[in-house]
Symmetry: C2
């Protein structure tokens, strides 16, 4: 059997190679570069073909495909959400993605995206906060200290200048894990016994809890004027984290309104409640934070363009490095009309 031609080979980034790549470049540098790529793609938001995600629901979870295209590249992410997986020692969310060439339809990259999604989620939050958080914010409360928390802390340090994080989780073991992981990063860490304690003196409040239900992580009286709330745990129908009253006195920023109305904190509000799309702020079409006393809220649910930017980024970054292996994934007969002949010749 002949070796497959170059056209037949699709670069693949395994979990191990993604970890090696991130550690080689440095996690904070990856977060900064990712935020820059995501911001560049948000700036040209209108160039994108924005398909709603395609979800397949079952009683125990959801499997989604999130495609988008800018006319030159096409990307999609496969992602599941299975809250009970954790009890079985499995990941609640796993993901992989594909980048393809619109001109030929050929895949250009297959990549693990569990780690990459954690990175792009944190990079997006920090990018949003750079436009929305009060100037000089140095302290961030983090309520929910699960798989996303350390990535958020590092992204906010690298991109927004956060120096101090105040941690709280209903499970103290999660807070201990997060604090231990952040030890040695230079970020000052304060574990707190309650959400109220955590938000004391914080200019930014990040909520990233994982319960798949309507929860009230923050009530209205807990949130003072002038803070920025980075709400990323409420990300599917029936899952929210903030009391409705907080939403009513916040200036709300979202990724893609039709999706966030269904999945975000704003599912608690009328469909006509005004929100601003983050890309409009980035493109200079809408104001971000207008006044110091404003409460700003980034109601983040994760959008396909962020995954697209992340795939483009790693595709550029790993080209020609040892962080990829080639998959023989595309049948490439010498004569495109002779697929059968290729099969028969393989016998020889």
């Amino acid at each position: 059997m002949n070796a497959p031609s170059q056209l037949a080979l699709v670069p693949f980034i395994s979990v191990e190679n993604m970890m090696r790549f991130v550690l080689h470049v440095g996690i904070e540098r990856v977060l900064v570069e990712l935020a820059s790529e995501i911001e560049a793609d948000f700036r040209r938001w209108e160039h994108f073909d924005k398909t709603p995600r395609v979800a397949s629901h079952s009683p125990v979870g959801v499997i989604e495909l999130m495609p988008t295209s800018d006319g030159a590249f096409y990307g999609f992410k496969y992602v599941n959400g299975h809250p009970k997986n954790m009890q079985a020692g499995l990941q609640t969310v796993t993901a992989f993605g594909v980048l393809a060439d619109v001109a030929t339809g050929y895949p250009l990259l297959v990549s693990e995206m569990t780690i990459l999604t954690a990175l792009r989620t944190a990079a997006t939050s920090a990018m949003a906060a750079r436009h929305l958080a009060p100037r000089g914010a140095r302290t961030m409360a983090m309520i929910g200290n699960g798989a996303q928390s350390e990535f958020q802390a590092l992204a906010f340090r690298a991109i927004c200048g956060i120096e101090h994080v105040r941690l709280h989780d209903i499970d103290p073991a999660a807070t201990r894990k997060c604090a231990a992981n952040l030890a040695g990063t230079g970020i000052r860490v304060t574990p707190c016994r309650s959400a109220e304690e955590a938000i004391e003196g914080a200019q930014v409040i990040t909520t990233c809890t994982a319960d798949k239900q309507y929860a009230t992580i923050l009530t209205d009286n807990m949130v003072g004027t002038g803070v920025h709330i980075n709400a990323i745990g409420g990300d599917c129908p029936g899952k929210t984290e903030l009391h409705r009253d907080i939403l009513l006195r916040s200036e709300i920023f979202v990724e893609y309104t039709p999706q966030t109305r269904i999945e975000g904190e704003i599912q608690q509000l009328d469909a006509s409640h005004p929100v601003t799309e983050l890309w409009e702020v980035i493109a200079g079409r809408a104001p971000g934070r207008a006044r110091a006393e404003q409460v700003t809220l980034f109601d983040g649910v994760g959008f396909a363009i962020e995954d697209f930017a992340a795939l483009r980024y790693v595709h550029d970054r790993v080209k020609g490095t040892g962080f990829v292996q080639n998959l023989d994934m595309i049948a490439d007969p010498d004569d495109p009309r002779d697929l059968y002949g290729m099969l028969m010749r393989a016998q020889a």
Copy 2:
């Protein structure tokens, strides 16, 4: 860095391994087994979550995701269609697919699907013909002798008892290629100079041309009573092969009506024109061929359940064989909440 755990590994079938698998089992046996799996899934049609395919169009082609689920498994295929690729020595259609476990959302298999799609398309056509073609059909005309033609010939021989194929293509080189590939298979092959000549004495007419336009491969006066037409080349908006008058006097069978109304030959007809879904015939809910003089038409465009059945089939068939390689695609930290810790420990 520790070796990834079993949970992190997703079996992958490369193009080379797919060819090895098909040659090992035997192509006709694969076609027979595939047709049987597809038929089993068509019989339980109503169990499936049938999402329309998600298409991303560009001026030069289309990239599609075709997902479906039976509640236990979830599958999707990535497939492109770029007619001009051939001029550049690339495949017009390439594909790969993923099978996943609905209970956990974890991928179970990644597979090349260019070869597998050629096989499932031929198996589906022959399965349809087994229910629709006149009894004792032994001769098939094949108009269009491109990449799909040999697979069709072998599937019809193995599943429907076709012994003789009469070939025609506007490019004589395609006919020569097809005839050469079929030499030695035991199928009698007659190259023909015209479509009219090809259909002489044929009880089954297969049209599988590749031009992306409205074409008239068959006109009404060419089609005698009692034949079965297997029309698989008309498979996207703006691409048809048959004159409308043939449709008007045929009993038309389709895969999934909403999709075929857009993509199939019946895009030429009123949306109210009666058609029968093939699964209804297989499940005994609707008659197939009712009379010997009837013209039956399978307006095949390819449906997600066929790909799902094909993925399930190869997943079962290659388990524990040497035809798979494992991809380290799913991040699998010891503690699902400690993705960051996994990343940091990878440094050691």
